[in-house]
């Protein structure tokens, strides 16, 4: 087997898994289940869509290995797309406008997960750590904001759900920090 074919065969399952994940999340039942709550929508559905894009990018990644110059552009793409979907009005719109919902299912894998996956392989440990640290603090600020908001931020979610999301975001941020702390202290990170 020549190399190109080998790569193709090896990466195909990842791409297929990505597509399957998006398709599974797009099923009406899954959508209803996850979008019922703010936690399900923001902390489960969006990260899973992101993961699907990441997996899909594995298939492309090997072919784009020479394009390491674009790693910063990829990370920035993911950053802006993430900020966009953190805007309450667009999350709200995804629930009321089918077109925006479709946009979410396309852009989160394509503009958040995939570019991040493509860039990740090119990034050094320091930059990866930097991205993790920023993600953790962003999540914490987000949780804090939602806990402090006196009124509903999203028209489609109850005030209580908003509060639950605030706590869940803080918990997730703490969980990730704890993981990294343990890994830093006891892990074999310096291999």
């Amino acid at each position: 087997m020549d190399l190109a074919l080998e790569i193709k065969v090896a990466t195909r399952p990842w791409a297929a898994a990505g597509f399957l994940l998006v398709a599974g999340l797009a099923l009406p039942q899954t959508r209803n289940l996850l979008e019922q709550s703010l936690v399900g929508h923001m902390l489960i559905q969006l990260p899973l869509l992101c993961a699907a894009g990441w997996w899909g990018s594995v298939a492309l990644g090997k072919r784009l290995a020479g394009l390491s110059d674009f790693a910063p552009a990829f990370v920035l793409t993911a950053l802006f797309a993430t900020i966009f979907w953190m805007l309450p009005r667009w999350l709200d719109a995804a629930l009321t406008e089918p077109l925006v919902e479709a946009l979410k299912f396309v852009t989160v894998p394509l503009f958040v997960g995939a570019p991040l996956g493509l860039a990740w392989a090119q990034l050094g440990t320091v930059v990866r750590g930097f991205i993790w640290a920023n993600a953790i603090s962003m999540l914490m600020i987000l949780g804090w904001l939602y806990l402090a908001a006196p009124a509903r931020v999203c028209n489609n979610y109850l005030l209580e759900q908003q509060e639950t999301f605030g706590w869940a975001a803080l918990a997730a941020a703490l969980g990730i920090s704890l993981y990294w702390t343990l890994l830093a202290l006891f892990g074999s990170w310096n291999r």
């Binding site: 110059d69 674009f70 552009a73 802006f80 900020i83 009005r89 009321t96 028209n155 109850l158 005030l159």
Partner: protein, 201 residues
């Protein structure tokens, strides 16, 4: 090669900022509520022809109020929290307007979006907040199907609160003398609304 790196990153930053600028109406609206307030302020919105019935069983439509300013709030009669504030702010607005001219020029409408609200429910709500039935009417659409049309046009989202009640984005909606939804105000305090009414009266 480093040039490509910098250029591509700069291009993404420019594109990303442009998208975020557009997506927030120039950093002016981050929530759906902010977006709908900004949208009607920039472009007043025509309203659908809906027939209402008030707590005295009288029928009317928005068109009957051409030439007046109509203030609209959405309520449901069993509401215990936000509607109390809404009802209270309507009561204060009404009390602050000149009693002789106001009823002919400013109309207050509390529209129920709860299909189960019957005439008795509207009446008891009216009594609770001393709505007189003329300058301030408690109403519901005659046809239940018009509720969804109204909510969609006004941009009001109503969701069940899990305790048999509802949560909804509460605000005071101002319909101008040409019958268009022209402004949406935070319901408390009503100072901004009163200022607008006084300059108009």
């Amino acid at each position: 090669m480093t040039r490509d790196k910098a250029l591509s990153a700069a291009a993404i930053v420019a594109a990303g900022l442009a998208v975020l600028w557009l997506a927030t109406d120039g950093l002016a609206a981050f929530t759906a509520e902010g977006a709908r307030r900004l949208a009607v302020k920039r472009q007043p919105k025509p309203l659908p022809a809906v027939e209402f019935v008030d707590h005295n069983a009288k029928r009317f439509s928005f068109d009957d109020y051409r030439g007046r300013i109509v203030l609209v709030e959405f309520i449901y009669s069993r509401c215990g929290d936000i509607c109390l504030v809404l009802g209270d702010s309507f009561e204060r607005i009404r009390a602050a307007l000149p009693p002789d001219t106001a009823p002919d020029r400013v109309q207050l409408l509390s529209i129920s979006f709860d299909q189960t609200d019957g005439p008795d429910d509207l009446t008891s709500y009216a009594e609770r907040f001393h709505a007189d039935g003329h300058a301030w009417r408690i109403v519901r659409p005659v046809e239940a199907k018009d509720i969804a049309i109204l909510l969609k046009t006004f941009g009001v989202t109503v969701i069940a609160d899990g305790f048999g009640g509802f949560q909804h984005n509460a605000a005071v909606h101002l319909i101008d003398e040409r019958g268009r939804l022209a402004r949406i105000y935070g319901f408390s305090p009503p100072a901004a609304i009163l200022e607008r009414l006084w300059t108009w009266l």
